[in-house]
Structures are given as C-alpha cells and as structure tokens.
C-alpha cells in the first residue's frame, strides 16, 4: 500500500512536470512559460535603457552608442568592423526573435518551431527555391571582400548578443513557442534579401492570362490587357529619348499557347499596392535646396518591419531604416545624399511548361533534346513529428515548383508541371549596393553603387544639394515584347531569357525640366521612349497623378509641405468615374435612404478621410460594379479580370461594350442597369446600419503581430486608400514616412507604425503608432560626431573589447 501511494504520487508529479514542460500545438509549455523566474512575466522588463559600459568579445576598439528619446541608437565606431558588429548586436537586442522568424519563414523552416500547421508553407518556400537562391546569393556576396567583411562583423555582433542570453532572458516569443535562438549566419542575411525579392516580385498573372487567351483569343486579350495603360504618367517624363545604343531585342517566336493548367489561382500581383517617393529641385523649395520624400508601403505588422539606426565611422555617416537582420541602412540619407525606394514591378518571374520524358521525370525536353533534371532533396524538420523529405526538380530554367499530379499550395498559385524562371535565382550582390550607397557622396557614386543591385528592382529616388533623380534600377531580362505575359514554352530555346538589359540602360530621370521627380509604382517609362520590354502591368496611374499634381503646384516647398502630401487622402479613382456613373442613376425611383447615399456621393470631395462615409459607399459600389461587369466573363478562380485602368476607359469611352452583358442571363444587361442595381444594394446597406460605415472603421484596418498573436496588435482608425498618396489599405500601407531637407546641414523627419523594440512588453514596441496614424513626423537626430549635441541624448553606452 505504501509502495502504491508513493508510486502514484511520484508518477503524478513526474507526469505533471512533463506535461507542463512541453507544448501542445499552439498551447505553450505552461511550466516554463508561466514561471515568473524564467517565463513570460519577466519578458516585459524594459530595462537596459540607462547608460552603461559593456565589454564584448570581438570588438577591435571602443565604440560609443548614444540613444535618443525614440531609442534610436547612434553608433560611433572607429572602424567598419566595429560599426557593423555593433549594429548586429543592437539589432539583435531589439529584434532577435523577429529577424530569426523572418529568415525561418523565408527558408521554409517554420515547421521546426510551429509544427505541421506550417508544413505546406515551408514546402512552398522550398519549391520556389528560396533556400538555394539564398545560398547562391551568399556565395556571390562572400566573394566580395567588402560585403563579406560587413556580413561577418554583423553576424559576430548578433551572435555576441545571443551568446550572453540566458534562457530566462529570451524574447517573449521564444518562451511562447518554447524554443531557443540559433546562431546567426551570413546565409540569413541572404535569406532576408530573397524574402524582399519575393515580397516585391514573387507574383505572376501568367497562368490566368493564358486561360484568358485560350478562352477569348489574342484580339480580345490585346484589347482588354494592353501593355501600356490608357492613362499614365510614367516616371520618366514623356518624350525623354534614351541616349544609349540598345542591344538587339530577341526575335519574337511563333505563337505559343500553353495547355490549360489545372490550377486556378496564382499569387496575383496586387493591383493597387506599392510605395511613393519623390523629390523636388532646390529652385522650388523655401530654403533653396532639394527636398526628398519616401514612404514604402508594406504589410504593416508588429514588431515593425523597420529598425532605425545611425551609423558613424571613418568614411561613413548615415541614418535611416533597415530590415532587422541585414546590415547597413536601406532607406535614409548621409551627409551628402538622400535616397528611398519604391517597387518597380517589372515582370521578372515567368513560368515554363515542362515536358517530361516519362513518369520518372528524370529528363525534360529542351532545344530538341532530352536534358537531365537535377534533384535537390529538401529536409523539412517538423516540431513534434518526423522529418519530411521533399524532392525538388530543377531544370535549367529553375525549380519545377509543382508536378502535374500535385495540388499546389495557395490554392494553386503555381502551375503544376511548370518550371519557375525568377530573377531571385540570379545572384547579385545587393548588400554591396547598400554599403556603397551609405557612403556615396554624389550622383555618379550613387549610380555606381546601383550596378550590383539586381532584385527586387526599385525606383531609387535620389537627392543631393544640387540634383534630384530617380533610377528604375534592377536586373531586367532582355525580353521580346510580351515575353512572359503568358505561360512560356519550356522546350523552346527561343522562349528562354536571353540576356539582360545593361545596368547603364535602365530607365532614369535626372534633373528634369519640370523640377521634380516622383514614382508610385507606375510604368517606369513609355514604350515610345524606351527600347526594352519590362512588363505590362504596373500600378495604376492615380497615385502618381496626385503626387505630380501637388508637386507641380509647389513653388516654396517646405518639409511640412511634404509631410502634408504624405497624408493626402485624395484619390483620382472616384474623381474620374463618379461624374460618369452618378448621372446614370435613375434618381426618381430612389428610396429616401438611397437618395441620401446619392447625395453623400454627389457632394464628396474624393478624399478618403476617416470620418466620412462616402469612401465606404464608393468603395463598396466600385467593387460591386466591377464584379457585376467581369465576374461572368472572367471568373476569379481561373481568369484575370482587366485592370482598373481598362475598366475606367471602358466606362468613360465604351458605353455599349459587350462586357456589360451578363452572359449567364438570357436578357442583355446594360451599363446603366448594372450601375443602378449595384448602387441600390450598396445604398441600402448604408441605411441598414449594419456595421460601422465611417471609413476609418469600416475597412477594419489593423496592425497585427507578425505571428498573428491576438492581443499583440492594434486596430487602426485612419484615412487613405490604395490609390491615395496616403496608401493605407486594410493592413497594408506606409511603413516608414521620411522627409529629407538637403543642404549644408541635412535635416530629416520620419515616423513608422511601431517602435524600436520588438518586445511586446516595452513601451517602445508601438510608441510611434499614434503619431504615425495622425500624420506627425519626428525630427530625426542626425549627429555629426560622437560629441555633437551632447544634450540631445541622455543614454550613452560604451562598448569596449573584452
């Protein structure tokens, strides 16, 4: 009996401890998680924000770090090694979990820490070849002594932080998911760059466009999907002729139509999303020097995608934001120049239909011969389960993302039996570009730095105290017109990418006569002014038109003019269509509530302000109208509907178009009919009072934690729209707003929706969120030396070598 009791008690204790020490799916390991001595309770501690001295292994000389009131570190090092080492150390201190999580996601390793819930996501990353692309890129970056030294110093700094971290000091998310950080490696820096390339260029419409072509033929597709939009304000002003001798364009091969592919959805290119940047010449500013603005639009999440830093060492003094985990400054300024980026959106991802020799899939047909497939076995470790082995087939084009018999992830975002040809697989040294831009003193040095930037292609805005410019820079495949608009023939050599647009022939504009430069992801250049085909679907012209309209009107621009511009909620979309749509409505037959809705729209000033209901009405109506016109002809599961630009053109110019008819009904629908039906539906929803109709609430904008943890994000109440300069759309929007005033004493302002710390228990986790929401910018403290403005910072860290 005694034995029995003892045994039971011990068994219960052991079981209890075991049960509390492990995770169950998303349920954390309660023992270590709840223990106040090692668990989450202590993770909130926002300490370390007092002056101190730190001895670190691996430093070569003493480093001073001054923190300002936003907790931005200003690093003063005596050599490059210590500079990047310290940046690595401090970034890890603020964002260790985030930087590792992002690289795990990019590499297809989330299942290691989350379990089989993320297995398909991981498999997708592997099939896209993210890991192999990063590895190739790493080799290229390591071959260059400068970028190698930077990566190794940064990595050593991150690891110096990790090494001194006791389990109890792990960031909150490690405790929640019950795992430990691994050593940082230069490969992770390459993975972050590939993740950026994926975010910006990892989409295509090729499959749906092929389905369109099969269904309607070339004439209709040419009419509805033109290569250049009806309305456009290209980045390079119209009529600027290129002054270079172009390479010969590869000949267009005979028509090819791929077989119908069984997968219906692609990771489609988002039509409206992107970023803004612009600069205005000194002749049109109040202080006589150029002004520059940049606001990249990204998926907004917490911890913030950006980390702010100032880097100072002999030969470099730069300030700006960078994705945590990568060294240097991505968007920012130094003592001489300022720069920012928007996505170009050129077509640099294509699919090739692959003809396998047989079911073994060891060979594929190309250039009139059978060529061997390369097989790469991917090992995916899964938390709480056995490892998964997955074989990825590689052709010379790239990986065959999915085989004919497989179901693709993302509901068929990827055509099966199709090989991926993607710019991210062509290694370049993007890191070197950042290292050199950070040190550039003038436009020629800036252009030189850009030559090693391949992907993602960016519209780099530039300003110094005399010049302004935008360079649509990246590595572009040399394509025949419309190459890759549809699925390509993987067996025909003429369909391969056949070279590159020379880096000194990318579109650019320098000091144009109109006195400003701007980009908002629109077509970089009109085909009339440029010999190469870059793609056929760029962001709509509306944001750029608004930017250009406001810049054209400025004569005495100040930083505040730019700040106000960044918060501009006006949109050309309703301005261009409402005056045509509203008169089509049969007012006499409207109910009282519908009349009220009509009145609201008729009186609207086309500003998407948070306290207005007109934006809600218009957006609902516009979506409904678009669906009612296209859904029957181009069902979303398999087809791509024409772009907004083409729809607007049709509404304004083609009132009798065949596409208004709903082919699923016997009668013939007209534009006026659709306009009235959809308007009434939306107007009635206003009267019904279901849900919040004020724009600031109605679209449910929020900013979530990266791992989607409930309680770790915040609901937003803000204006703007995808086609306003203030391009906040659901959870996507301006992730960093920066304004830089050039001149002998460069001055800058900025804000981002978050804060420096990745610790959800820190007040610096989201301390800038409200200022960002209300459109306030903070002056960025740009120090000339370690001794400059001693009163501006109160916390000083001295790092010495151990």
């Amino acid at each position: 009996m005694k034995w029995m009791k003892a045994l039971v008690a011990v068994a219960i204790t052991v079981l209890l401890v075991y049960a509390l020490n492990r995770t169950y799916g998303v349920v954390p390991a309660l023992g270590p998680f709840l223990s106040p001595y090692e668990g989450f309770w202590r993770s909130g501690a926002d300490k370390d924000f007092t002056s101190e001295e730190l001895a670190l292994d691996g430093l070569q000389a003493p480093v001073q770090v001054r923190f300002d009131s936003l907790r931005v570190p200003h690093i003063f090092a005596q050599n490059d090694h210590d500079l990047y080492y310290t940046q690595g150390y401090l970034t890890a201190k603020d964002r260790l979990w985030q930087m590792e999580f992002m690289t795990h996601a990019a590499a297809g390793r989330l299942s290691e820490i989350i379990g089989d819930r993320t297995l398909e996501m991981d498999r997708y990353q592997r099939r896209m070849g993210m890991g192999t692309a990063a590895q190739k890129s790493l080799e290229k970056m390591m071959a260059d002594p400068q970028s190698r030294a930077v990566m190794e110093a940064y990595t050593a700094g991150v690891n110096a932080y990790i090494d001194q971290l006791a389990r109890r000091d792990f960031p909150f998310e490690y405790k929640l998911l019950h795992y430990a950080p691994e050593k940082w490696r230069p490969l992770k820096i390459a993975l972050l760059l590939k993740m950026l390339a994926y975010d910006m260029t990892g989409y295509s419409d090729d499959l749906r466009m092929t389905n369109n072509l099969r269904k309607y033929g070339a004439a209709v597709v040419r009419d509805l999907f033109p290569d250049y939009p009806f309305r456009e304000e290209p980045i390079v002003p119209l009529g600027s002729k290129p002054d270079f001798r172009p390479l010969p364009i590869p000949p267009t091969p005979a028509d090819f139509m791929a077989a119908a592919a069984s997968h219906s959805l692609e990771r489609q290119k988002p039509e409206n999303l992107g970023s803004n940047n612009w600069a205005i010449t000194g002749a049109r500013t109040a202080n006589g020097y150029p002004l520059l603005a940049s606001d990249p639009h990204l998926n907004l999440s917490l911890p913030s995608i950006w980390h702010v830093v100032q880097l100072h060492a002999p030969g470099i003094n730069t300030y700006g934001v960078i994705i945590p985990g990568a060294p240097g400054v991505g968007i920012g300024f130094n003592e001489h120049i300022a720069w920012g980026m928007t996505n170009v959106g050129a077509d640099v991802l294509d699919w090739y239909e692959i003809k396998f020799k047989d079911g073994k899939r060891q060979q594929y047909w190309h250039d009139n011969q059978w060529k061997p497939m390369r097989r790469v076995v991917e090992k995916i470790r899964v938390k709480g389960g056995p490892d998964i082995l997955d074989t990825v087939l590689y052709t010379h084009h790239g990986p065959v993302a999915y085989l004919p018999h497989e179901t693709a992830f993302r509901s068929g975002s990827t055509p099966t039996g199709h090989a991926l040809r993607w710019i991210a697989h062509d290694p370049q040294n993007e890191l070197k570009t950042l290292i050199q831009i950070n040190r550039a003193k003038n436009y020629p040095q800036f252009r030189q730095a850009l030559t090693t930037w391949a992907a993602p292609a960016f519209n780099f805005v530039y300003a110094d105290s005399q010049n302004i410019a935008i360079v649509s820079n990246g590595l572009y495949p040399l394509k025949w017109k419309e190459q890759g608009k549809f699925l390509l023939d993987g067996s025909n050599r003429a369909h391969d990418w056949q070279g590159w647009v020379p880096m000194d022939q990318v579109p650019f504009v320098l000091n144009p006569s109109r006195g400003f430069v701007s980009s908002a992801n629109q077509s970089p250049v009109s085909p009339q002014d440029y010999p190469y085909y870059l793609g056929s679907s760029f962001a709509g012209y509306e944001r750029s038109a608004r930017i250009n309209q406001r810049l054209s009107a400025m004569t005495q621009a100040t930083p505040d003019s730019f700040r106000l511009m960044q918060m501009d909620n006006y949109s050309f979309v309703p301005k261009n269509v409402l005056p045509t749509l509203l008169p089509l409505i049969d007012q006499a037959s409207l109910s009282e509530g519908q009349k009220r809705a009509y009145q609201i729209l008729a009186e609207w000033d086309y500003r998407y302000d948070p306290d207005k209901t007109a934006p809600y009405l218009f957006e609902q109506w516009w979506q409904a109208l678009g669906r009612s016109i296209w859904a029957d002809d181009f069902p979303v599961e398999k087809f791509k509907a024409p772009a907004r630009d083409r729809l607007v053109q049709m509404l304004l110019r083609e009132p009798e178009s065949r596409w208004y008819d709903d082919v699923t009904t016997p009668q013939r629908e007209t534009l006026a009919g659709l306009v009235n039906v959809t308007f009434r539906e939306v107007a009635d929803s206003l009267a019904e009072g279901r849900g919040e109709k004020e724009w600031g609430f109605s679209r449910n904008s929020q900013i979530r934690h990266m791992a989607q943890l409930p309680g770790f994000g915040q609901v937003l109440y803000a204006g703007g729209s995808a086609n306003s300069i203030n391009a906040l759309n659901a959870s996507h929007g301006p992730s960093w707003r920066m304004v830089v005033q050039m001149g002998p004493q460069i001055q800058a302002w900025g804000v981002y929706p978050g804060g420096q710390s990745g610790n959800p228990g820190s007040r610096f986790y989201d301390n800038l969120l409200n200022d960002w929401q209300s459109g306030k910018l903070h002056q960025l403290l740009f120090l000339r030396s370690a001794q400059d403005q001693p009163a501006a910072t109160s916390v000083l860290w001295t790092l010495t070598k151990n």
Partner: protein
C-alpha cells in the same frame, strides 16, 4: 519550518535553475523534513505558490502590466489577475505534489 525551508531554497534554486527545479527541491526537502503527508503537500503548495505569486506580482508591477495584459488577451482570459491566479496555481500544484511524493517515498523506509 518545512514551508520556510522550501520557500528559501526553491527561491534560490529558481534564480539559477530551470523552473522544474522546484519539484526537486520540494521532493528533497519533504523527504528530509516532512512529518505528515498533508503537511508536506501544504508546505510545497503554499511555498511555491508564494514564490510564484511574489515573482509574478513583482514583474507585473515592474512592467506596468503591459505584457501580462497582452498575454491575458491572447489566452482569452482578459485579465492579468486571472493569469496570475493560474500561474500561482500551476506552480503551487507542482510544489504540492512533488513535496507529497518526497514524503511518501521517504516513508517507504520508515
């Protein structure tokens, strides 16, 4: 006496060792000192409960409850105080059962 012993030793242990060290401490001290099963369980339960209450309360106040409120929301308990009660209960249960085990095992020789 046992209560005070467990309190002091487990507190020290937890500053340096993983959370499950509380089970070892309770087991060993109850093995050594406990006179009744009830006394052992209660001493372990209360002492560990108290160290966890003290720790949780300290960090909750020191961090203005920012993180504990978020975690409470995440676990849908909506109040950091409920979270604290759960925390204390988990620690106390481990303390109680392991102390009881220690006593019962020792008794095999007694």
């Amino acid at each position: 006496m046992l209560f005070v012993l467990i309190l002091v030793v487990s507190l020290l242990a937890q500053f340096f060792l993983p959370w499950w060290s509380i089970a070892l401490v309770c087991f060993a001290l109850a093995f050594w000192k406990a006179r009744y099963g009830g006394q052992a369980f209660l001493a372990g339960f209360l002492a560990i409960g108290l160290t966890w209450l003290g720790g949780a309360l300290f960090w909750h106040l020191a961090t203005d409850g920012l993180l504990s409120s978020r975690v409470a929301a995440m676990l849908t308990v909506n109040s950091p105080w409920i979270l604290m009660a759960v925390t204390v209960l988990v620690g106390a249960l481990v303390g109680g059962t392991s102390a009881l085990s220690g006593y019962l095992v020792r008794r095999l020789w007694g």
